[in-house]
Amino acid sequence: METRSRVLLLTAAIALLPGCASLHWPWHKKAPPAAESSSDTTEQSAATPRVIDPQVERRSIKVPKIRPRDVEFGGYYGVLSIEDFGSNPVYGVRAAFHVTEDFFFEANVGRSTAGKTSFETLNGNLQLLTPAERRFTYYNVSLGYNFLPGEVYLGRNLAMNSSLYLIGGVGSTKFAGDQHFTVNFGAGYRILPTDWLAIHLDMQNLVLQSDLLGKNKLTSNLGASIGATVFF
């Protein structure tokens, strides 16, 4: 093992050295090539004398920048059913980056507080978890696909763009004093009253492995939420 890592370290160091050679350190003088090019131009101008030397000042045209509005940021509130611990309110923040018209990346951070298991309710004073351990905090990074883009009509004169999207990703959940690897998947509906504001209706499942109640099992934590985001 020792020799293997030594060999690997040496190989990487050797491979990195040629890269260092191409670095532009401040003590590397750039004067010689500049001198060469100036001598070239003088030779050229000597060969073909310039008759007209235009004194036109070039107008610098300032092209207006086209602002990107690919980033979505906002929050959500809903209900999360934590397996064995009942349904409880959940809230969180959401940030999304639209890569193409079809695909987007989304990051979520959310929190809920687990209720009591039926076992705890029946046993009165018995507590499986401390209040701090009951906090269900999660984050995830997902890829979304705009599945059914369209328009919704509210009354005679109001039409809004909408999109039904599918979403799935990975993340981590802190619950009962432990971090759990979490897979999330679901679907959402995005309605845009204006081009910069979006209303979301989401259904997601957070799947994680838990051995909290004695047996190692996959738990499904289904959640539904309503949220709003602003495009930047």
């Binding site: 890592s5 190989t11 990487a12 092209v63 690919d70 981590s172 004093g177 432990d178 971090q179």
Partner: protein, 269 residues
């Protein structure tokens, strides 16, 4: 060119009528002069990019996507103002004040006021070869545990970059965090699929699971060497796969070695 000439033509007749009416001439001259003073300033301070339609018509969609219907068209010779962009779609406003979304492909057939075709830089292979910053997220395996990782990198040259990586690993027996800083060397950045090697050091924190034994969290220094492949996908995006072997300098008798495999998506800017 054609547009600037038409603007001049529209100004000229008003000047000639001023000459025929000498009494109002001074006022008109003052107005024309004032217009001359302020017109270029107004032109320079244009808020949005103006584009002219040279194809028979330009289609405006109701949303930023090819599957949103077309409800308006703009005829040849007219212009649109580009308000902003979402992915490859541009929000434009016509001379009549109608707003809609135009695809990048359609907009590339329009021209600027001076007649040059409109182009937009969405990132390309040249940018993949030479850029200042890159970042990405990836997923993989860290000594049997699941790994979620993110990185940012600052290019020193086209081949050499300084990288900062932050990861979280979630295993059956323990979880933890990893922060690494290192150098990465890309052998041939001009290749679509280009190999690279990396070397660096970092800090690793291991938190044993509470349901097993009650143990203290451990934080140790570590070093790594790695190798990987990067593949240019599209625009500003590339796929990046990497293997790293970490040596953890523990306070116990033997050092630990952990293998890391990961695959993810990265972008440059």
């Amino acid at each position: 060119m054609a547009h600037s000439i038409s603007t001049i033509r529209s100004i000229l007749p008003s000047r000639s009528t001023d000459v025929r009416r000498p009494r109002a001439g001074w006022l008109a001259a003052l107005l024309v002069g004032a217009a001359g003073l302020f017109a270029p300033a107004a032109e320079a301070a244009r808020e949005f990019q103006q584009l002219f339609i040279t194809e028979p018509y330009l289609e405006l969609h109701i949303g930023p996507g090819r599957r949103y219907p077309v409800t308006q068209v703009v005829a040849r010779g007219e212009s649109v103002d580009v308000l902003y962009r979402r992915t490859e779609w541009f929000r434009v406003r016509t001379e009549r004040g109608v707003e809609g979304w135009v695809s990048e492909r359609d907009l590339s057939l329009t021209t600027l006021a001076d007649g040059t075709p409109f182009t937009f830089d969405f990132g390309n292979r040249a940018g993949y070869m030479s850029h200042h910053w890159e970042g990405g997220v990836s997923m993989g395996d860290f000594g049997g545990a699941t790994l979620i990782s993110g990185y940012v990198s600052r290019s020193l040259t086209n081949q050499l970059a300084l990288e900062l990586t932050g990861s979280q690993f979630l295993g059956n027996a323990s979880n933890g965090y990893l922060v690494d800083i290192g150098l990465a060397h890309v052998f041939a950045p001009e290749w679509r699929l280009s190999p690279f090697v990396s070397i660096g050091t970092g800090i690793i924190t291991v938190q044993p699971k509470t349901t097993l034994v009650q143990q203290q969290d451990r934080t140790d220094q570590s070093a790594f060497v790695g190798a990987g492949l990067r593949w240019y996908w599209t625009r500003r995006f590339f796929v990046r796969g990497e293997y790293r072997t970490h040596k953890v300098f523990t306070s116990r008798n033997a050092n630990e070695e952990i293998d890391e495999w990961k695959l993810g998506l990265a972008f440059f800017f």
